[in-house]
Amino acid sequence: MVKVKVLEQVAKANDQIALQNRQLLDGTRTLAVNLMASPGAGKTSLVMRTIEALRGRLRVGAIEGDTASQVDADRVATTGVPVVQINTGGGCRLDANMVRPALHELPLDEIDLLLIENVGNLVCPAGLALGEHLNVVISSIPEGDDKPYKYPGIFTVVDAVVINKTDLLPYLEFDLPTFRQLIAGLNPHACFFQISCKTGEGISQWAQWLADKFAAGARSTAGDV
C-alpha cells in the first residue's frame, strides 16, 4: 500500500472553467452578476425591474437558471433583451460548465450587464464560481429576518444583499435593524439595498450601483485594447 498526496480542490475543474468564462466576459467588457436567492424571493422580478431601470443606459442580457421549465426566460424575453434558459434537470445550482454554453449563445458583444439568475436555493450556489464579477443575494420580507442565521454561508460571500418586498413590512414581523446588524457582522463589506419590485422602491439606487460597477470595470480595462 502506498499513500499518495493529492491536495486537490474538488472545485478545481469548475474554477478553471469559471476562469475561462470570466476571460470571455472580460473580452467583451460584459459585467456579470450572479443573483442568488431562495425560490420566490423575487429574482426574476428584480431582473425585469433592472432591465427597465437601465433601459437606454446599459445593454442588459440574462441567463435564467432553473431545475426545469422555460417560464422565467419567457418572462424576461418579453422585455426584448437577449436571454438564455438553463435547465439543470433537478440540479440545485448552476456551475461554470452549465454557464459556458449559455455565454456562447448570447451576443456578449452587445451586452454590458449580464444578470445570471441562479437556481432558487440559499445553500448550494454559495461560493461556486461561474465566472461572474459580482455576487448578490436577494432576501425577502416574508422569508423572515433569521435567514442570515440559518444560511450564513451565502451572506458571507456576496458583494450586495438586496432585501425585496419591503411593501409588506407593515403587515409582517420583520426586524429590519437586526437583519442589517446581522449582515454587517457576517459581511461588513456587503452593500445593502431595500427594494420593492412591486412598487419600484429602491430600484433606482440598486440600478445605479450596477451602472457604477460597470463604469468602474470599463475604466479599469480601458487601457487593455
Partner: protein, 113 residues
C-alpha cells in the same frame, strides 16, 4: 443534491492521481470537508458506490475528515467555533465574524496498490 457532481469530481481526481502513480487499485480516498462547505458525507458515499465500479477506485473506501467552522470576531479578534445558529462571539457578544476555517473541500490523499 449537488453531491453527484461533487462525487464525480472526487472520483476523477482520485483516478487521475492513481494513474499517475501507476496504481493497480485505489483502496482509500481521504477527503477533507469543512462544515461550512455544505456537503453531506452519506450522499457522497452513496454516489461513490454507484459511480466507482469499473474504475481504478472500484471497491475503494472514502474517508472524510471534517473541519469545524471557526470564526474570528471582528470586534475583539477572539477566535471561536459558532454553535448552531448563533454566530456570536462568546467573549464580547458581537454578531458575526470572519470565517477562518470550515470552507475547506479537497482530496487530501489516496492509498493505492
Amino acid at each position: 443534491m449537488h453531491e453527484l457532481a461533487i462525487t464525480e469530481e472526487i472520483l476523477r481526481i482520485a483516478v487521475t492521481h492513481g494513474e499517475r502513480a501507476d496504481a493497480r487499485r485505489i483502496t482509500d480516498i481521504h477527503v477533507v470537508i469543512g462544515d461550512l462547505s455544505s456537503v453531506v458525507d452519506d450522499s457522497v458515499q452513496f454516489y461513490f458506490d454507484f459511480l466507482s465500479p469499473n474504475t481504478l477506485a472500484a471497491g475503494g473506501k472514502l474517508h472524510f475528515q471534517r473541519i469545524a467552522a471557526r470564526l474570528r470576531c471582528r470586534q475583539c479578534a477572539f477566535e471561536f467555533e459558532p454553535q448552531g445558529m448563533e454566530w456570536q462571539c462568546p467573549r464580547c457578544q458581537a454578531i458575526g465574524g470572519e470565517v477562518v476555517a470550515g470552507q475547506e473541500f479537497f482530496v487530501e490523499s489516496i492509498e493505492v496498490e
